[in-house]
């Protein structure tokens, strides 16, 4: 397996605060959070063949959970550092259990519609449960106390948790569970006739994906300093889809690359024009047309050469 690229990227990320000003630490956290979000999302799309159109529910639930923990000023710092990710993952994971129990019974567009419907339910709760969520105004002024709340400190906190999350997800997709998931994407009925409880495996993948999306939401909430009901709105569910497809759903790190390109493009373009969504749309359209397998697909096959198999081989580790 090729460890070089992720290792180099990791070292570069560790060194980043030495060369970039504080403003870029916020962008760095955004990249990390959305990279984790897109990779978690792709556990379902790229490996399990399930297109969730309600993932913003988990990202948002994690954000609110982290906000509520961070608001407990009396908590000792070490406890808070453990509780923030734990609460975010548990909340998002619990939401994923409830939503998944209903949604994984269906496949394809029906699965997408069910996740969409449940997300709108959670969006409404975020909007209406004012005493807990602040309603329309959201929760603001979120920050971890002390040095870890400052841009560079928080960047390292987010980097550590993102790395841990990606490591766990990487183990997951290369495990027997991950192999079963990939077979399931190709032919669920065949997998069932191998003696596998397909629905239970889909649910497990859905919950794992939801929990790590929640962690991503928590990381972003405590960096941006706020969380709003709009985070759970259906339009927000398109973000991980675009990032994953942009980076390439056939590779593990593709969606992370897609997230980085998306976030940085947004920052750069919105600094130059107020029409940044239009410009983003054009840029993404061109990228997707030029690289239908995503950016990593381009890298894997090169222009003009025959597309390689989408497979991430089981026998030889990750495709290079």
């Amino acid at each position: 397996m090729n460890h070089a690229a992720p290792l180099a990227a990791g070292l570069a990320l560790v060194a980043l605060p030495l060369v970039l000003p504080d403003f870029w630490m916020f962008i760095g956290v955004e990249v990390l959070a959305f990279a984790l979000y897109a990779v978690s999302f792709n556990l379902l799309l790229g490996y399990g063949g399930m297109l969730s159109f309600g993932h913003a529910a988990f990202f948002g639930a994690g954000g609110y959970a982290a906000a509520l923990v961070a608001a407990q000023r009396s908590l000792p710092l070490p406890l808070m550092l453990v509780l923030v990710p734990a609460a975010a993952m548990l909340t998002a994971g619990a939401a994923a259990v409830l939503i998944g129990l209903f949604s994984v019974r269906r496949a394809g567009i029906y699965f997408a519609m069910l996740t969409f419907a449940f997300q709108m339910l959670l969006y409404t709760i975020a909007l209406k449960a004012t005493s807990l969520t602040g309603g329309d105004d959201g929760l603001t002024g979120l920050k971890l106390p002390g040095a870890i709340g400052r841009p560079v400190g928080y960047y390292y906190f987010a980097l550590a948790l993102t790395a841990a999350g990606l490591y766990v997800l990487h183990r997951l997709v290369h495990s027997p569970f991950g192999a079963t998931l990939r077979a399931l994407r190709a032919n669920a009925l065949r997998v069932q006739y191998l003696g596998v409880d397909v629905r239970a495996h889909r649910l497990a993948a859905f919950v794992a994906s939801g929990a790590f999306s929640g962690l991503a939401g928590a990381l972003f909430a405590l960096s941006s300093g706020n969380v709003f009901p709009g985070w759970l709105n259906w339009t927000a569910s398109a973000t991980p889809v675009v990032m994953a497809v942009l980076g390439g759903t056939a590779t593990f790190f593709g969606p992370a690359l897609g997230a980085a390109v998306y976030v940085v493009l947004e920052v750069v373009i919105s600094g130059h024009t107020e029409y940044w969504p239009l410009t983003m749309g054009v840029v993404i359209t061109i990228l997707v047309l030029l690289a239908p397998g995503g950016l990593t697909g381009l890298w894997k096959t090169g222009f003009g050469r025959a597309r390689a198999s989408r497979a991430v081989p089981l026998s030889t580790g990750e495709a290079r």
């Binding site: 183990r171 997951l172 290369h174 495990s175 027997p176 569970f177 991950g178 192999a179 079963t180 990939r182 077979a183 190709a186 032919n187 009925l189 065949r190 997998v191 069932q192 006739y193 191998l194 003696g195 596998v196 409880d197 397909v198 495996h201 497990a204 198999s309 989408r310 497979a311 081989p313 089981l314 026998s315 030889t316 580790g317």
Partner: protein, 249 residues
């Protein structure tokens, strides 16, 4: 006398007003190579789906090696030792041939929940043995989607065998093959079944294939058993000739 591998009693399956299976009885003894024949729409595929829990029957009883499996979910039926293949070839197209078999071995070993261990190389030795058994050793590293139709059928057989079944259900194992390839293909299954001591039930349209390997034949017609017996007996029955053999000739 040894216990039958499969006992089906008065199996009924209805779809709305249509009775697809109208009281089917079937007993398969160990080591049998049973062909189920009948015209299109006779209920052959429905019968397999009802046997394996994909379509729970409306009434009737199914026993596998003495255990009642009526209405059990497909994955539970599979774990009991019944493997099946499909009329439409069902392999995992973007996995390589050896990975296809590895996934089946992982499922059989109940390791599909293992989420931390590396899957790489897991069961690879056994997977290569199974590919060798079906004559696919040289194609192990090829994505299954790139294999020829016949080779995909062989791969399906290897996947089925990975579960160490006692009973193989093959739904039109030679569909889509050229005449010569059909005979070779069914003879491969036949040889392996004898070697491993498996019982086998298969549906088939090609009479040359049926008469080459079947120990007994069941004729389904409009959801009922029209006739059953040795190949010679079935061939001699006038109503069978009328309904099926005449039509096929």
């Amino acid at each position: 006398m040894s216990e039958p591998v499969l006992t089906v009693e008065s199996l009924v399956k209805r779809f709305g007003g249509l009775t697809a299976l109208d009281g089917v009885d079937l007993t398969v003894e160990p080591g049998e190579f049973r062909a189920i024949i009948g015209p299109n729409g006779a209920g052959k595929s429905t019968f397999f789906n009802a046997l394996t829990g994909l379509l729970p029957p409306d009434s009737g009883r199914i026993a596998f090696s003495g255990h009642d499996i009526t209405g059990e979910a497909p994955h539970r039926v599979a774990r009991r030792g019944i493997a099946r293949t499909f009329q439409i070839t069902s392999v995992f197209g973007d996995l390589t041939a050896v990975e296809n078999v590895q996934v089946a071995l992982i499922a059989h070993a109940r390791r599909s929940w293992s989420a931390w261990q590396r899957a790489r190389g897991l069961g690879a030795a056994r997977a290569h043995e199974l590919l060798d058994l079906v004559g696919l050793a040289s194609s192990a590293a090829r994505p299954a989607a790139t294999l020829s139709h016949g080779d995909q059928k062989r791969l399906e057989l290897a996947i089925a065998l990975a579960g160490e079944p006692q009973l193989l259900l093959l739904d039109e194992p030679t569909a889509g093959m050229a005449a010569q390839e059909r005979l070779e293909s069914i003879q491969l299954v036949h040889r392996i079944a004898i070697e491993l001591g498996l019982s086998c039930v298969f549906t088939e349209h090609d009479m040359a294939v049926v008469f080459a390997v079947a120990t007994r034949i069941t004729v389904l017609h409009q959801g009922r058993v029209l006739a059953e017996g040795s190949p010679a007996e079935v061939r001699a029955r006038p109503e069978v000739q009328q309904v099926y053999l005449g039509e096929a000739a």
